[in-house]
Amino acid sequence: MTTTDTTGTTARGRALPVTDLSLVVLIGASGSGKSTFARRHFKRTEVISSDFCRGLVADDENDQNASRDAFDVLHYIAGKRLAAGRRTVVDATNVQQEARRQLIDLARKHDVLPIAVVLDVPEQVCAERNAARTDRADMPRRVIQRHTRELRRSLRHLEREGFRKVHVLRGVAEVEHATVVTEKRFNDLTHLTGPFDIIGDIHGCASELETLLGRLGYADGVHPDGRTAVFVGDLVDRGPDSPGVLRRVMSMVKSGNALCVPGNHENKYGRHLKGRKVQRTHGLAETIEQMDGESEEFRAEVREFIDGLVSHYVLDGGKLVVCHAGLPEKYHGRTSGRVRSHALYGDTTGETDEFGLPVRYPWAEDYRGRAAVVYGHTPVPEATWLNNTICLDTGAVFGGKLTALRWPERELVDVAAERVWYEPAKPLRTEAPGGHDGRPLDLADVHGRRVVETRHAGRITVREENGAAALEVMSRFATDPRLLPYLPPTMAPTATSGVDGYLEHPKEAFAQYAADGVARVVCEEKHMGSRAVALVCRDAETARTRFGVGGASRSSAAGSGGGPTGSLYTRTGRPFIDDASVTEAILDRLRTAVGEAGLWDELATDWLLLDTELMPWSLKASGLLRSQYAAVGAASGAVFPDALAALEGAAARGVEVADLLVRQRARSADAAAFTDAYRRYCWPTDGLDGVHMAPFQILAVQGRSLAALPHDEQLALIDRLVEHDGSGLLRTTRRLYVDTGDPESVSAGVDWWLEMTGRGGEGMVVKPVGALVRDAEGRLVQPGIKCRGREYLRIIYGPEYTRPDNLARLRQRSLGHKRSLALREYALGLEALDRLAGGEPLWRVHEAVFGVLALESEPVDPRL
C-alpha cells in the first residue's frame, strides 16, 4: 500500500504509478476535472463514466433520479472488463464511502488492485467550471460544497477502505501536470521465456537439491546455457538442512539465476520471523532449530526474502504459470488476498477426511486453461500431467524423490531421496490430487453450441441440436471416452458421373484431384464391411498408465481381471462387439501381429490406433439387413413370380400387355441383382471364425499422429502387419497408384475399378498419396473420394436405380454439403489425433471427437 503525495515528482509534474490490470477509481467533486484527466491519461475505452451510464438508461446524463440504474450498468460493464483482464477507470465523483465500497468489492471479486486517484481541486474552481457548462449551469452550489466536504472527510480513510494505491493530487496545477505511469504486476513475467527448470518441494533436502541442480547442468547455481531455475516453494521444514536450501535458493534468486514462489511453509516461518505466534508443527520446529545456528544477519536476509516473494508467476508469454499449491485459470496474473491464499494453500471442499485433515478440492480436474500450471504442495508418488497441470512434489523429504520439470521441453528429471528424512503423517496418495480415478469429463466441455479450434481448418462450429443428439449417443452407447480418442470422418463420393449407365465412376475422382493439383493418388479397394477403429495397447498396464482405464483403485461391478487392453468401436463410437471377451480376442490377434512385425520398437510406441474395416457387413448390420435389405429381397422374390405369371396369362389371352411384361421382367431382374449385391457382403460367422479385418491406416502412436504419413508408407506398414498375422484375421487392402496427369495411368485406374466392381466389389477410395494435402490456395484437399461400384449402388439407390429414367433423376444430387461436412469432420479428426499425440488433456481430445459425432448428425443426404 502506497500513498503518493509528493514523491515521484518529475520535472513536469508528478508521475503516478498505475498497475496495468487494476480498477482505477477517480475521486473528486463535480467540476474537479475527472473526465478531462481520464481522457488525457487513459484509453477512451478504459473509462466508464457515471454520466455516460445515466445517459444510457435515462437519455439524460444529468438525471440524478437515474443514478441507481446508471451505477448498476456501470458496475456491470466494469465487471465484464475486469473479468476479461482489462484495466478499468471509473469516472464518477466517488466522494461517498458507500460508492467506493461497491467498487472495492468489485475489484476484489475480480481479484484486481483497486487504485484511488483523488482530484482535490478548490470548490471555487469546480463551481466556475460547472457554471461554464450549459448542461450543469443550474447545479446548486451546495452540491459542490457537499462533494468537497465529503471528499475531505474521506481522504484519511482511503487506504483503510482497501485501496492498494492512493494518489492524491492537490490543486489545479498538480492535476494539470501529473502523468500516469503504467506498471506491470509483480507476477507478470510473461516476457521471460526461460528455458526454465522448475523444481518441486525441497523441504530442507539440501543434498538432494545440489544433486538435482548438478544433474540439470547447474554449476554453483549458474547454468552454462543461461537456464533459469524456478522453485515452487516449501524450501524449508522437516528436512535436515533448511538453511542450506535457503542459502542456495536465495543466492540464485539474487543473482538472477532463479525465481521462487512462496510455499505455505516459508509463509509460516516468515510469520515466525516477524515475531508472530505460530504453532511449531509440521517440521517448523526443525527449521527454527537449524536457523538458530545461523547468524542474525542471515535470519534477517531470510525474513526479507520471504517477505518479498510473489504468490505466483506467469511466464513464457503466458504459456506457463508456477505457484505452490495450484491455481485456477481465473486467478492467473491476478492480485488479491484470495489469489495469494489459493496459491499458497490450495482450495478445500469444506469436508474433512478420515485423518481429520481438510479434503482438497480437485481444482486440476476442472482446469481448462491454456497455460500449463506447475505446482507442488501435495506429495504424490509420480509427477503426472492432468489437464495441463502437473504437481512436482514427489515427497523428497518423505523418502520419495526430488523432481524437476524442464520447460519448454516438458521433460522430468528427478533425484531419489537419500533416505526418509521425515515420516509422513499419512501414506502418499496413489494419484495426484484429483487424479483421474474414474472421474468422468465435465458436461460443460461438450454441451451446447461449441466452437472447436483446429490447427488444420481453423474454428469449426458445432450446432446445439447436433450436440444434443451426440450427447445422447455418446452417453448411452459409446465406449469410455478414455478409450475413444478418435472418430473417423465421413467421406464424400466422387462427382456424379456423366458416363452412360453409371452414377459414380473413377474418371471424375481422378479429374477432381488433378484439378486440386494432386498428381499422385492411390486407389484403395473398399471392403464392404463396417468401419471399425481399433486402439491396441501392448498390455493392460499400458492401457492403465497411458489411457487411465482399468485402474486398480476402482473396481467396477464387472470385476474383470486385468482391465481392457484397448477398444474396438464403430463410426459413432459404440463398442463394435458387445462381448468384451471377443473384443479382447481380436485385440490380442492384432497385438500379436504388431509384435511379430516389430512395429512396437520401430514406431517407438506401446499402443497403436488403427483405422480398419471389419467384415462381414452382416456382423454388425444384421438388424438393418433384416429390416431393410433382406426385406426388399424377400418381398420382391415373393411377388414377381405371381405378377409375371399373371401378365403372361393375360398376354396369352391376347391382351395388350407386352410393354408391361417386358418392364416387369426387367424389374424382376433388377431385384434379383439387388439381392445378389447385398448377399456378397454377408456370410455366417462363429466366434471369430469368418471375421476378417482390413486395416488401412495407422492413425497415431505414442507421441505422434501418423495422419500425415504418406499412404504408400502407411500401406507398407499395414502390409507387414497383415503378413505377420498368423491368425487369419487380417486381410490386405489391394491398391493401385495412379498419376492423375497421365491419361494412360488414369485409364489403368478406371480399368482396375471396372474389373473389381464387375466382380461385385464395393468399389474403391481414391486418396492423395501425400495423405494430408492442401490445394494451391492452401485449403485442405478431400482426404479421400469414394467411387462405389455400379452393382453395389443398388444397395444405396434401390434395385432399379440403373434404369435410364431413374439415373437421370438421381444425377440431380448435390455434393456441396457432404464435401464440406467431410472436410470439417476430417479436420476435427486430425485435431483429435494431434491432441492425443501431444499428450493433451482428455477433455481436449474428447472435445474434437464429440464434434465429429455431432457433425455426423447434420442433415445431409445419407446416400452420399
Binding site: 469436508e351 443428439a469 461391478a557 463398442p575 418381398a635 415373393a638 393375360a650 448428425s857 445431409v860 445419407p862
Partner: protein, 500 residues
Amino acid sequence: MFLTLTTTGTPDRPATDLGVLLHKHPDKAQAFTTSFGTAHVLYPEAEEQRCTAALLLEVDAVALVRRGKGKGRGGAPDAALAQYVNDRPYAASSLLAVALSNVFSSAMRGVCKARPERAAEPLPLRVRIPALPARGGPDLVRRLFEPLGWAVTAETVPLDTQFPEWGDSRYVRLELESASRTLAEALRHLYVLLPVLDDAKHYWVAPDEVDKLLRAGEGWLPGHPEQRLITSRYLSRRWSLTREAMERLELIRLAETDDSDVEEIDNAVEAEAEQEEKPTPLAVLRREAILTALRDGAAARVLDLGCGEGHLVRELLKEPRFTEIVGVDVSVRALTIASRRLGLDRMGERQAARVNLFQGSLAYTDKRLGGYDAAVLSEVIEHLDLPRLPALEYSVFGSARPRTVVVTTPNVEYNVRWDTLPAGHVRHRDHRFEWTREEFRTWADAVAERHRYTVEFRPVGPDDPEVGPPTQMAVFTLTTPTTSTPTPTASTAEKEAKAA
C-alpha cells in the same frame, strides 16, 4: 404391389361378370395414374367358370424419396420412405390399398348399374396377395380376416433362403377364400386391413382419415373383435409421422452412420404398446417408495436424474414440500414429451417455477447438479453399460453429491415370477444388465464407502420370500454433510438408527 381377385361361375352366372362388377373390361389392360406410380388392371384368365382380375401397382421409388424434398433429411417425412431401398414397390402396402380405392371406387361402394343384383349378393371369391407386409404375422392376419368370414391361408416368407438363420420376413403370402362376402365388402376389408397389417408407417396422411375409416368399416368394423387394434393402428399414423419428422432427425442420422436400426438407439421413450399398460402397479409402488424415501430425508430440492417422460416429476409436483424439482434426461425427445405431459407451458407461474427440465448426462460431471438435497435414479443404472457405471457413480456421488440419493433397479431374481417374460430375458430391451440383490448390495455398499455415504436397502413391491421384491431400492445418505445443509441430517440419522 400386386394382388389378384378370382371368382368362379356357371353358365347362368358367368365368372366374367367380375369385369362388370369391377367396371374394368377383362379383355383390356388398363392403366391409372396415381400420385406414387401407375396402377394396372388386367385379367390373366377370364372364362365362364373362372375369372381373375389382377391389380399391379408400379411404384416409382425414386419419386417417393424425392417427393418430400426439403423436409428435414432431404426426403419424405418417414425414415424408411426416405430410402431408395424400400419394400413399397414390391409389398402390398398401404399404397396398394390407396390404389385399390382409386381404381375400384365404384365397386368398393357396391355400385353397379349393369348388374345391381349381382353387386348386392355374395359371390365365391379368392384373394391372393403374394407379399403382404404383416406386423403380427400370420396369427394376426387370421385374427383380422377370419371374423369377417374368410378362410385364411397365410404362410410367412423367409427373409433370405441363403441365410436361413435370419428367420422369417414380415411378409406373408396370403390367400383368402369366402363365398359369403360381396365384392364391395371384400374390397373394403382389404382397403382397411392392408394398411393396418402394414402398420401404416408409410402412408400419406389425409385430414379426413377418421371419416374414411368409418365409411370403409361400415357394417363390419363395429362388431370386429380386433376393433381397437384396427382403429389405433389405422389412426396412429398421423402422430407418428409428425413425431418422426420433428423429433428424431438427428438420431436417425447417427443411427444411419452406424448402419443401425433407428429403433436400436432411439428407445429412450417407451413404445406405445408398453405405455398402454401403464400405470402398472409396480411403477406406482416404485414412485410411492421413492416419495417416502425423499420425505424421510426431508428433501425439498430434488433431482430426478433420468426423468424420462416425467412420471415422477408429476408426483413430486403434487407435494408442496418439494420446492424445486429438476428433471434431467439425456433424451431430448423424452424431455419434449415430459414437458408436454406436464403441461409446462400452461402451468401457473408459481408452479412452473418449481420445475426445470433440461438435457444432461450422467456420463459427465455437471455443475448444474450441485447443491441439491436429493437425487433420484429410478430405473436408470441398468440402462448403462457396466464399464460406464463408474462415470455415473462419480458424477452423482462424487460431483453432484446430494444429501440423499435414491436408486432403484430391477431385481433379476424376481424375473422368474413374471409369467410373460421368457426365461433369461431382461425386462426391457435396452437393459444392459439386471442385478441380483447380492450384486446390487455389493455395488451400493462399495459406492457408499468410496463416497462417504451410508446406505439402506428397501424392497419395492411384494417381497417374495425366495426371490425378493421385483424392484430393489437403495437409499444413500451423506455422512459428512457440507456446511450448507445444517439441520435435517440429524433427524435422518435418528431415523436410520431406528430403522437399523
